[in-house]
Amino acid sequence: MPPLELLLQQAFNGLMLGVMYALIAVGFTLFFGVLDVIHFSHGDIFMLGAFAGLSVLAGLHAAGIGGGAVALALAFLASILITGLVGVAAERVCVKPLARSSPLMTLLATLSLGLVIRESVLIFYPRGADPKRFPQLLPQGGFELGGVAVRYENLAILAIGFCAMVAVDLIINRTRMGAAIRAVAQDPEAAQMMGVNLDRTVDATFFIGSGLAAVAGLLSGLYYGEVHFIMGITGGVIGFSAAAIGGLGNVYGAIVGGLLFGMLQTTSAALIPRGSEFRDVVAFAVVMLFLIFRPSGILGEKSVERV
């Protein structure tokens, strides 16, 4: 059994990974709640968010507003805006029209859309095939806490991630739009009868979800220092799995699911012999077990309104 500080470090690693998965999973669960669809191109939206942030930062750098908090804040805002709009466009073009047909259609459509997004970045971004360096704008350096290396970056990422989740929670539970989203998730027809504009609500949901993915993408770029056009492929499947473990439609469930998935991957790589080769096998096997024995998820599905 490895020493305690190693275990703690691994737990911390899992937490960081989990935070990013959680942000993607929340988007998934929101889309499912509102439209009853699994939006598979969400992983590639996450990638798009990272690249949008990268482009904005490159532009700011060229304009001379290089480093520091200002550039970072601008990049976040711009990326959320751009990615949110792209998400809405994707929904209008591809997801809503098929929402009423079988889940199969939406699945294939969104997967193909993801392919289109991915290939577009590959083709149209200069030298898209190569991994790209992401500017390290968070404060560098760190300290040791009980043998665990904690960097200021990690704290910043955790903080930003936490803020994002709090923001989503506030939007969902404290605003009119949030109430509308919850209403549509519960019963679209009744909601419409109460005066909720269905189209606008769905648009808003996709904007929020995609914006969250953009945040996740930027955080990923900051954390790993690089972005690659294929970084979204597994994001879709993992996001879906995490949302499902937590309970489809339940925002808090998605967060729990995302953290759980991250911890699962890290723990299997850390503790099982040859674990790093089989980390995904373990994670997906657990997902399968969950779906067999507790399909409604850890926190129960489709109860966006209350936890």
């Binding site: 073009v93 079988s102 995904d280 997906f284 096997a285 997902v287 779906l291």
Partner: protein, 373 residues
């Protein structure tokens, strides 16, 4: 009758030309001809009704003509082993597609692990022939059985779950299968299993180059004819099942589970049967692929291929048996033909699928409502 035969011959010539044209002039001419033909049949109403009526009345002739065309295709492709290979691959996808369609279209059992079941068939063949020395033809028959068994064992507890969750479980299974095949030693690791011996029937090895009507054909033509036979048999079996009481029960199960239960249909048993039958044919396709290509490796059976199989049945038309054939014959050769697009190829593929789903979700050859006389 003549109209039917004329149309079929014209199609045959166009297909051969589309596949083999190399020079830009020939390519452009063929492209133009195909577009003109499509436009004419779609928009020139008298032509459309005439064709429709002709094919309906002379059903048998149409089938025979189609069969003749399919048999004669290798002759037209005799100069190109590569295109014979692609044509055989298309036929394999017909077999796999019929199996998958039976699960998804007819019974409503969402199976996204098609690649894993094909992989089970293929890897079984590889392991039996290379490690255990079994003859290829026997291994090809056992491969699908392994796929069926694994499917049955693994999914009995899950078949009660709803569409989305079943889809996720099957996706998870594909990933697990892929990683296991890649990382376990006995499956050959990332290299897979090589040197799978080719098929030998009654002493005739499939690597000999056959001669038909005096024209020498590439060795792949043997596999083409075998695949043609396999696809024809599969389609026939699936058709019989569809028309039978089982098919009706599965359709009912798909459309309304409660109503089906009220009629005394066992949901679990129905889904399991559909799942197993489908997996048999999917596994068969994978097993055949193994002996045809001679090696299996993990990237051959990853999630991407599950999606291709899915596209085949959706583009053709869900629950439509002729749709599967059309879907496979379009979706397999076309990306090959468009290789000259290089990196734009995948982008175009994605766009086409999305457009198809938005504007023709019922597929190119939609399933017809059941007729009761």
């Amino acid at each position: 009758m003549l109209l039917v035969l004329l149309t079929e011959s014209a199609l045959f010539v166009l297909i051969a030309a589309a596949v083999l044209a190399e020079r830009p002039v020939a390519l452009a001419a063929t492209g133009a001809a195909i577009l003109a033909g499509l436009a004419a049949t779609r928009f020139v109403t008298p032509l459309r009704t005439a064709l429709g009526r002709a094919f309906e009345r002379h059903h048998a002739t149409a089938l025979v003509g189609g069969a003749a065309g399919a048999l004669a295709l290798p002759l037209a492709l005799s100069a190109s082993p590569y295109w014979t290979f692609v044509a055989t691959l298309a036929l394999l996808y017909v077999t796999i597609g019929q199996g998958l369609n039976f699960q998804i279209g007819t019974a409503g059992v969402l199976n996204l692990a098609g690649a894993a079941f094909a992989g089970l068939g293929g890897y079984t063949v590889g392991l039996l022939t290379v490690s255990a020395g079994w003859p290829s033809w026997l291994a090809v028959l056992v491969g699908p059985l392994v796929a069926v068994t694994v499917g049955a064992v693994l999914f009995v507890p899950i078949l009660k779950t709803r569409g989305h969750y079943l889809a996720l479980v099957t996706i998870a299974f594909v990933f697990i299968f892929n990683i296991l095949m890649n990382n376990l030693e006995f499956t050959g690791g990332p290299q897979g299993i090589k040197n799978i011996p080719t098929l030998q029937l009654a002493g005739y090895p499939f690597t000999t180059k056959p001669t038909v009507f005096g024209i020498g054909l590439p060795a792949h033509a043997n596999f083409y004819y075998a695949a043609l036979l396999m696809a024809a048999l599969t389609t026939w079996i699936i058709r019989r099942l569809y028309d039978s009481w089982l098919g009706l029960a599965l359709n009912t199960l798909r459309d309304d589970e409660i109503a089906a239960k009220c009629c005394g249909i066992s949901i679990t048993r129905g889904k399991l049967v559909a799942f197993s039958i489908g997996n048999f044919f999917i596994g068969l396709g994978g097993a055949f692929y193994a002996v045809m290509v001679g090696f299996v490796s993990p990237p051959d059976f990853d999630f991407g291929y599950s999606l291709v199989m899915l596209s085949v049945i959706i583009i053709g038309g869900v629950d439509s048996i002729p749709g599967v054939i059309l879907g496979a014959c379009l979706l397999v050769p076309l990306p090959e033909r468009f290789r000259f697009l290089h990196e734009y190829r995948l982008l175009l593929y994605g766009v086409v699928i999305v457009v198809m789903l938005l504007y023709r979700p019922q597929g190119l050859w939609p399933a017809k409502v059941r007729r009761y006389r």
